[in-house]
């Protein structure tokens, strides 16, 4: 590893007298919160009265209501298929190579189709280790992997359950997540 590292020291901002007195800063914080509260209250009231107003802020009732994700957000990966239904992935290992979390594991094999030549025998992503950087999508020369499933809920009860297999990533098999009888600490 060569290359010079240049160090730039950034001074911490110093607190002035007003900040040190604390009361003024606390009041300022309260002011910001209260302003938002009353402003939104005003807007919602106007709207309820049938009058024209700027839209007020809305709280999404998550998890009762589904999460809203932008279409370009990087969500859970999926593996794409060709027109004949076979996987697009040719096991080139570029995604596995670029992945900074080293959470992709591919085993390659011979493809029966001579024009495809190579394919993945198994393809696993450990979403417990993935940092959702999207590099795998960028690296893929075959447009075989995308992060556009829209799914952001992937939690599981064990580390092993966080690993998604090829069939699951292709949508051929729903993610089987064995729900273990969880202990409710409040159930006594």
């Amino acid at each position: 590893m060569s290359g010079r590292i240049t160090v730039k020291t950034v001074e911490r901002p110093r607190m002035g007298l007003l900040e040190q007195v604390y009361v003024f800063e606390a009041l300022r914080g309260l002011w910001v919160t209260s302003r938002h509260f009353f402003l939104n209250l005003w807007r919602h009231t106007l709207k309820a009265a049938g009058l024209k107003a700027e839209p007020g802020a809305v709280t999404i009732q998550y998890p009762e209501d589904p999460a809203v994700v932008a279409r370009r957000a990087r969500t859970r990966h999926r593996l794409l298929k060709r027109e004949d239904g076979s996987p697009r992935c040719v096991a080139c290992l570029l995604c596995e190579t670029i992945c900074p979390a080293k959470c992709i594991r591919i085993v390659a094999e011979e493809s029966p189709d001579v024009m495809v030549e190579k394919r993945a025998k198994s393809f696993e992503i450990d979403l417990g280790e993935c940092v959702f950087c999207g590099y795998c999508v960028e690296a893929c020369p075959e447009d075989a992997i995308r992060m556009d499933s829209g799914q952001v809920e992937m939690s599981a009860h064990s580390r092993e359950d966080m690993v998604w297999t090829m069939a699951e990533l292709m949508g051929d098999q729903p993610k089987l997540r064995p729900i273990r009888p969880s202990k409710d600490p409040l159930a006594g």
Binding site: V90, C92, R105, V107, E110
Partner: protein, 535 residues
């Protein structure tokens, strides 16, 4: 030969008269792109990549066919030269399938490299690409993809000029030209694998390596092949990190390393496949002994103590005359030196056998392969085995065992049962002590009272002396499998348990002591140059 002086890219270069501009440039550290030229295979000048500008010449010149002249001024990176080189790369890619995602050559491909370095064009060709046969099995270990071939003819020239076997040829003409097998032939000569190394692109690939692992994951260790007495220089390539590839094996490929004093550019296919043994399931991993018919694993410390005690007792009661030790030229100089200290100087064993028997002889040819399939026979001789230290033969040893003159047999890396055939079991039943010290399990492992696992050649730093008397270094590419150990350490441990002096914990001081004590090795150091040093 007279020296001439020329200028290449502003650098003044001295070269022998008659040398090629491409070589003169290389000696000055200037790489002129080329596919067809190879120092061992001549310069047909077909790839048209090495075009350079020469002052005073009306046209660009082909550097691989141009002899140097005094006062010549060559420009390899002038605008005209750069344009011509880039155009050549573009022409080579006109019908190229750009299979890089599935091509095993990707990462070490000269089409990729030269595109990046010299071309970076966007293709101006709008026609469909021409299709040719893909996935053609030329022989047991070589796969052809005719679409990827750039017709440099290196493979054809190798088979014509070096092996003389002529299995491949160029068929058809023009853009339909393609490499194919000569009718009725298969690419199965003992050196066939070299065409894969020669092929600058992914047209010829190794079947053993097919889709195993990407080349950029590999770690290369410069070491030597231990397949025969030549000891070719090689690169042993291992997959250190992502173990789910290549079936979990650590060693995955062997490539030749250029060494003009030993193997030139080539290696044989047997040597090329020798990585397979490194992680084979037959590897022995723990020391063990047979007690009342059952094998029991044990720690090295216990094994050393118990075996040493058994040896000392038997030598005292039955006399050291009856101890036979089968060593071999597969052992390194350090191993043999330690063996000499243990068996000759300390125990005074009555019978020694080092020279290769039928178990270690193979075919010999004029190119590389030597009859003795052991890397260190000359080293054993230099240490006195077979001369000052008298040797027996497999036959006389069998006789002596059957007649009861021998009570103990310690075989290192060799299997007496494989040599003695049907008389073997009867002979073994006469022995009181049997030790099998080996890398791989074989028939004798089952029968031996003691089993001591040795580390393989890929797992240790060591020196070997080839048949020319050239001492070369093997370098450690991997950790020893399981509890296996280098043989010198095993011998040293027993020697220590017997009360002898063995202070060494690493191979370097062993070699230092060896070069002091053994006149043949005087003056040599453990850090040998890449091409080795003569005795």
């Amino acid at each position: 030969m007279a020296e001439v002086k020329l200028t290449i890219d502003g650098i003044s270069v001295n070269a022998h008269e008659g040398a090629l501009v491409i070589d003169a440039a290389r000696s000055a550290g200037i790489h002129i792109p080329h596919y067809c030229y190879h120092p061992a295979l001549g310069n047909p000048g077909v790839c048209r990549l090495c075009l350079v500008e020469v002052e005073g010449a009306p046209k660009l010149q082909v550097a691989c066919r141009l002899p140097v002249k005094d006062g010549m001024v060559v420009k390899t990176r002038s605008e005209a030269a750069k344009k011509a080189q880039a155009f050549s790369v573009e022409l080579h890619l006109v019908d190229h399938p750009l299979d890089c995602p599935v091509c095993d050559q990707a990462g070490e491909c000269l089409l990729q490299d030269y595109y990046q370095r010299h071309a970076l064009h966007s293709s101006s060709v709008r026609e469909d690409k021409l299709h040719k046969p893909k996935r053609v099995e030329l022989g047991p270990n070589v796969m052809l993809d005719a679409e990827r071939c750039i017709l440099c003819t290196r493979c054809v020239r190798f088979l014509d000029e070096i092996t003389g076997t002529r299995e491949l040829g160029v068929f058809q003409r023009g853009e339909e030209g393609e490499i194919a097998l000569t009718p009725g032939k298969r690419l199965d000569n003992p050196y066939a694998g070299n065409v894969v190394d020669l092929c600058p692109v992914g047209a010829l690939t190794e079947r053993d390596f097919r889709f195993q692992v990407r080349v950029w994951y590999l770690k290369s260790t410069p070491t030597l092949c231990t397949g025969c007495a030549r000891g070719c220089s090689i690169l042993l390539q291992t997959n250190p990190e992502r173990r789910w590839h290549a079936g979990g094996r650590r060693a995955v490929r062997i490539k030749p390393r250029v060494n003009s004093s030993v193997n030139g550019w080539w290696i044989c296919d047997e040597g090329r496949a020798s990585w397979k043994a490194v992680d084979a399931p037959s590897r022995l991993k723990t020391p063990s002994w047979l007690k009342s018919g059952k094998a029991g694993a044990m720690a090295w410390e216990d094994a050393e103590k118990l075996l040493a005690a058994e040896l000392a007792e038997l030598c005292r009661v039955r006399g050291p005359e009856g101890l036979a030790v089968v060593l071999s030229g597969t052992l390194s100089n350090e191993d043999l030196y330690a063996a000499k200290k243990l068996f000759v100087e300390r125990l005074r064993a009555g019978r020694l056998l080092v020279k290769p028997g039928p178990d270690q002889l193979g075919e010999e040819d004029g190119l590389l392969r030597r009859q003795a399939r052991v890397p260190n026979l000359r080293g054993a001789q230099a240490l006195g085995f077979g001369a000052a230290l008298k040797e027996c033969s497999w036959d006389s040893l069998l006789e002596d065992v059957l007649s009861g003159k021998v009570w103990g047999l310690w075989a290192v890396g060799r299997d007496p049962l494989a040599v003695w055939g049907e008389k073997g079991p009867a002979a073994l039943s006469k022995l009181e002590l049997t030790v099998h010290q080996a890398v791989h399990a074989s028939a004798f492992t089952q029968a031996a009272r003691w089993v001591l696992p040795s580390a393989s050649w890929a797992e240790q730093d060591a020196t070997f002396t080839n048949f020319q008397g050239r001492v070369q270094r093997a370098r450690k590419a991997l950790e020893p499998l399981g509890a296996s150990r280098p043989d010198w350490r095993i011998f040293g441990g027993i020697l220590r348990s017997l009360g002898g002096a063995w202070p060494h914990e690493s191979p370097e001081p062993v070699f230092a002591e060896l070069s002091l004590k053994e006149p043949a090795f005087a003056g040599l150091g453990f850090e040998l140059p890449p091409e080795g040093a003569s005795l």
